[in-house]
């Protein structure tokens, strides 16, 4: 049963990842990407990484994809298909992709995977404790606080750079 679900999810990931690259309609590419991300969330749920799966759905499917859709709506000509690149560019891109794929496959095959047994699922309490952990693999909370600071800096930059409204009389 689990094996079947795993293969279904894997096929979804591979097929829609390919489609999202080759499709010339940018909106559809994004939706195919959404399917890929949701299938990844499904894989996490299958491995009982519930929190990670839910974060995947919230951040990637709910956040990033919506951000993409919003930013694409600001782009011109979203209704017409994208231009096809020149031939030598396509060849170059193909060569680089194949090289990357070979490298990744080589890394995967040379790595010695150890089988993990049925671990009990990670609870939200574990996640909370590791966020506040100051030992090894710790210091997540300060890291997140720094990202909040960066966000504040970005908002500040936008506010400063924004042109003032002209007072139309």
């Amino acid at each position: 049963m689990e094996r079947i679900i795993f293969y279904i999810l894997s096929i979804i990931i591979v097929v829609f990842a390919g489609l999202s690259v080759v499709n010339r309609n940018i909106m559809r590419s994004i939706i195919y990407l959404l399917f890929v991300l949701l299938a990844f969330a499904g894989l996490y749920f299958m491995m009982e990484f519930n929190f990670l799966g839910a974060v995947q759905m919230t951040v990637y499917a709910g956040g990033i994809i919506v951000l993409y859709i919003n930013s694409i709506m600001l782009v011109e000509r979203i209704n017409s298909p994208l231009d096809v690149a020149k031939l030598w560019r396509r060849i170059l891109a193909g060569v680089i992709s194949v090289a990357g794929a070979i490298m990744a496959l080589f890394a995967i095959w040379s790595y010695d995977f150890t089988e993990v047994g049925d671990e009990s699922s990670i609870t939200i309490q574990d996640v909370g404790k590791s966020v506040l952990n100051y030992g090894e693999h710790g210091y997540i909370l300060p890291f997140e606080v720094i990202s909040m600071l960066l966000l504040a800096a970005m908002v500040g930059a936008i506010v400063i750079a924004k042109t003032k409204k002209r007072n139309a009389n």
């Binding site: 909106m27 519930n50 929190f51 839910a54 759905m57 919230t58 709910g62 859709i69 919003n70």
Partner: protein, 355 residues
């Protein structure tokens, strides 16, 4: 976990009938079918309730001809919608146009699985419970964006963009209210959340910050389910019908049903987070062995919350989009952030009310 005898009987009967693996799959299919049924019935009932409540607030009767007190009116409407022709625009992106309703339906159904109708009727008790509902419903926004964009209609596009922005903004408030209540509870699992409220509901245990969180939740929930006074999505006077202008027949009905089921889900989260889920008030029916008593209390509480949402709908005038965003980002968000800190202090200093 104590199971109702009828469900245990069905479970055992299935397993005695066939090998374990196929019985398991059949059970999953049966549960899915049952939830689809609940989905449809809930949607129809809530539409009927909405119209009756509207009648009540406007000093008229509402639907009262088809069946007893008009109960079958919405079924007749649904039959009419099924028999209607599906129309669409020629220049629309047909794949996305067709897919959009299913995004919304699927996310609503996935969130439904988490709803604890009673101690026994609870399909999926995952350990991240409430967070899972929030994360699933954040995917539903994509469906509305798609419906707005793929219709190839300016009104739809504007409606879709408005909803998208509104739902993203107010999701934040709902998430923060969940964090506030989780600070009090110390768990996200729905069955544990309810069990902890056996000695006083969270709205009493958490007193001041919990009441504030409940008020914010009601506002954000109204916005999240796109209801008046936040129904800019389908502001009839401005946008036709918003993102579903171009949809007809059953595709339109999907949006319509999903909207009401989302209302039910929001109300259920409110009941779970603040009013003790399927627990009886003051434990008055705890000793008695009445079947489906949990379902009764849960239904009663959810109906009360839904009634308040409907009350809002027929009381307040619509907001403007800038007012809506100002309310969220300049008022609710800072209040929420302070509220989380206050709640954390209360829990830390032991100032919560415990019986």
């Amino acid at each position: 976990m104590i199971r109702l005898s009828i469900f245990t009987q069905i479970h055992e009967w299935l397993y005695s009938l066939m090998p374990a693996s196929s019985a398991h799959i059949l059970e999953l299919v049966l549960i899915a079918a049952a939830y689809l049924g609940i989905f449809a019935i809930l949607g129809l009932l809530l539409v009927w309730l909405e119209r009756r409540v509207a009648g009540f607030f406007q000093l008229r009767l509402g639907p009262n001809r088809v069946g007893p007190i008009g109960l079958f009116q919405t079924i007749a409407d649904a039959l009419k919608l099924v028999s209607k022709e599906l129309t669409g625009t020629v220049k629309a992106d047909h794949f996305l146009y067709g897919a959009a309703p299913y995004f919304i339906i699927t996310t609503a159904l996935m969130a439904m699985a988490l709803i604890p109708f009673s101690q026994e009727i609870h399909a999926f008790d995952i350990n991240i419970g409430v967070f899972f509902i929030a994360s699933v419903s954040s995917v539903g926004v994509v469906g509305i964006f798609l419906a707005g964009w793929a219709s190839n209609n300016k009104y739809s596009l504007i409606g879709g963009m408005r909803t998208g922005i509104q739902m993203i903004s107010y999701e934040l408030s709902i998430g923060m209210v969940i964090v506030t209540m989780t600070t009090l509870a110390g768990t996200l699992q729905i069955s544990e959340l309810i069990e902890m409220q056996r000695n006083g509901w969270f709205i009493i245990q958490g007193h001041f910050p919990a009441i504030l969180a409940f008020m914010i939740f009601m506002i954000a929930g109204t916005a999240e389910s796109n209801r008046v006074p936040f129904d800019l999505v389908e502001a009839e006077s401005e946008l036709g019908a918003g993102f579903h202008t171009e949809y007809s027949g059953m595709n339109f009905a999907y949006f319509f049903l999903a909207e009401f089921v989302n209302l039910f889900i929001i109300s259920s989260i409110a009941v779970v987070l603040f009013f003790g889920g399927w627990l009886a008030p003051f434990g008055i029916t705890d000793g008695l062995h009445i079947p489906f008593i949990g379902l009764f209390w849960f239904g009663l509480k959810v109906t009360a919350i839904i009634f308040i949402f409907m009350w809002f709908r027929w009381t307040f005038p619509r907001f403007r989009i800038d007012q809506l965003l100002t309310l969220e980002w300049k008022y609710l968000l800072p209040i929420n952030m302070v509220n989380i800190v206050v709640m954390a202090l209360m829990v830390w200093l032991g100032l919560i009310i415990k019986f």
